[in-house]
Symmetry: C2
Subunit: 381 residues, 2 copies
């Protein structure tokens, strides 16, 4: 039966009726991995913005606060973990910041994954006045999961070489006191590829992205940096970051002994069953011997999240190529502008195959590769 105390995630992000971004990309995976999820919707839209047109409403700060206040009155503000994602305006974000501050004060051990969803690839898709609010929120976070552009936006450091990357990470760890930073989907520019140690170099000539996890374990030592290259899957998919953040939070176990599983482990073997949630289902067997004794909890969680996300993207890509021709047209801004449904149809065919991939989300058949320690990362400092 199910008498184990369960963990509860409060998820605050967008809702779309059709498709999988925001809460629609995050909640189902968290549930599959055994978490009860309290779901606050910051918007209620027909579909994600990439379709070009969407209908619906944004929740005002007053509406969000009314929900939070009733939950507090009813003693329902009792998450063990908090996940925040897309929140479209400064007022709404301030309401969420107030809640996060309150929850963290009442329960300092709350695990808070803050995904500072602001933009991508040089383009901001929230109002600029959310940026300072996100900076104020950073010290509340246990983990942040910005993309490359969001790191630049938060730290005001242009990431152009290894020293600037070091500087940005130092700002996040030291100025903003974030213990764990996971930077996703980093383009492997020549300088970055040149800086990578051999153990982290991509295994083939295919195009790859880098994921980097940096963890401030003690204030005396430099943060521990782990990284992994993942093959790029061609095409534009929405909701990937939201899925990754949810999986990162789900697999994060701070109490886990600081040892790693073998590199070619099958996730299923170490995953919790849905009935006994992650934090209570630890095996009492001794951990397997491993070469990389320095795995941090966040690097371990990122390895699981990367493997599952890659599996779902592969499923989605494999599905997309089976669709009728009109749903497989390549990105072409000029053609899209002439015929709006051209883009719409392409988007529809690239919605994440989460439901079809649920066994993989539970860990079945997913090969998890450890992230590798980047021991020399800080060595020139």
């Amino acid at each position: 039966m199910d008498t184990a105390p369960s963990e509860r995630v409060l998820s605050i992000q967008s809702h779309v009726v059709y498709g999988y971004v925001g809460g629609k990309a995050a909640v189902f995976p968290l549930q599959c991995l055994g978490y009860d999820v309290d779901v606050v919707n910051t918007v209620h839209f027909s579909n994600h913005a990439g379709y070009g047109r969407s209908g619906g409403t944004k929740a005002s700060a007053a509406e969000l606060n009314a929900v939070f206040e009733s939950m507090e009155f009813n003693e329902l503000l009792a998450p063990t973990r908090l996940l925040t994602g897309y929140i479209p305006g400064a007022e709404g974000l301030s309401a969420v910041a107030g809640l996060a501050r309150k929850l963290k004060k009442e329960k300092p051990e709350l695990i808070y994954l803050l995904d500072p969803v602001m933009g991508d690839a040089g383009r901001l898709y929230v109002a600029a006045d959310v940026i300072p609010i996100y900076r104020e929120m950073l010290p509340l976070a246990t983990i942040i999961a910005p993309n490359w552009f969001e790191v630049e936006t938060l730290t005001q450091v242009k990431l152009a070489d290894l020293p600037s990357l070091r500087k940005a990470l130092s700002i996040l760890h030291d100025t903003y006191h974030v213990p764990n930073v996971v930077i996703t989907s980093i383009p492997l520019t020549p300088w970055l590829r040149g800086a990578l140690p051999a153990s982290i170099q991509p295994p083939s000539d295919e195009e790859h992205l880098l994921c980097l996890a940096s963890s401030r374990v003690s204030s005396d030592a430099s943060p521990q940096v782990h990284a992994q290259c993942v093959p790029l899957i061609p095409g534009y998919f929405s909701g990937v970051g939201d899925l990754f953040s949810a999986l990162l939070l789900a697999h994060f176990r701070p109490s886990h002994p600081s040892t790693s599983t073998p590199a070619a482990d099958i996730a299923a073997a170490s995953l919790p069953s849905p009935i006994t949630p992650p934090p209570t289902s630890e095996s009492s067997a001794p951990p397997p011997v491993s070469q990389t004794q320095s795995q941090t909890p966040v690097a371990r969680a990122a390895a699981h999240a990367l493997a599952t996300t890659h599996h779902i993207l592969s499923l989605t890509h494999a599905h997309a190529v089976t669709l009728p021709a009109e749903q497989r047209v390549p990105t072409d801004d000029e053609a899209d502008a002439k015929e709006p449904l051209r883009k719409t149809r392409r988007m529809r065919g690239r919605e994440l195959r989460l439901v079809q991939g649920q066994a993989a989300i539970r860990g079945e058949g997913v090969l998890v590769r450890d992230m590798r320690g980047w021991e020399e990362f800080w060595s020139e400092l």
Copy 2:
């Protein structure tokens, strides 16, 4: 991989942040059973009304229509199934009725499960002006799943004996042209118990409820009635009807050969894997021989839905009894009025254990009992 064409449910009902009613009780089970679900929220509340206080907002008809219109513009109104539940006011319900009419006109084979959520146990909890709108919507439905009180409300027949039950069913089938009616949670009053054939009598002296499935297979013959008694689980649980309706829709397979599985079948064996959704995963093996050749598709679906719902309720009850004393206090209106949190805490301990029961939702370890034909039901007509 997942190249099978998948089914898609458009679900339109309430959303609560905390707990499991409306969409929160329906969407996850549908996803676990392999359906992509488009999720329209008619309200966005902190928690269900049973807590006594809840904060949040209702979507206006204009907001709902804006969502539907953008979906139509983007060619995203393409469900194979429609599920509607709690819609709080006449304007919003009219918007949903308009959408249902349009979808059904464009795609007559759309499977529409209409749950006319209006009240329970003699008490209406929606505005009375929704009643005539629900009556107008009935001819659009493939299946309706009213409770006892909602049957009385829709048909204006007081269910006091077998002839009045026959009359109400005839009105639903003949006046409103509903092919499949599933009435849930019928109290086993003495007259009803007296009318039941031996094969449907409850197997023990425990308190039971009756579930009745009536199917108009051809216009020449009387509807086929099947029924089953299920043991009553003590205590008040919210969202049970929403869960049952979602499971009923998920397990409904109109193209299924009209034969039954053995009475002591394990659901897992006949359930779709999440990767190959229900309608496409039919085994090509010959159906097993059975004594009740007359199982209708809706009776078969109801048997699965009853078994799973009972399993989830059992899990929920088993969990509730392990909680601290303050969360296990019995219903007592006087004591609740003095101390509002008394009721709140009781409600919290009785939220459905859907996440913990997800393996059962997928069919693992759930024993499905066939519903039995009630051959004599119409015999005195």
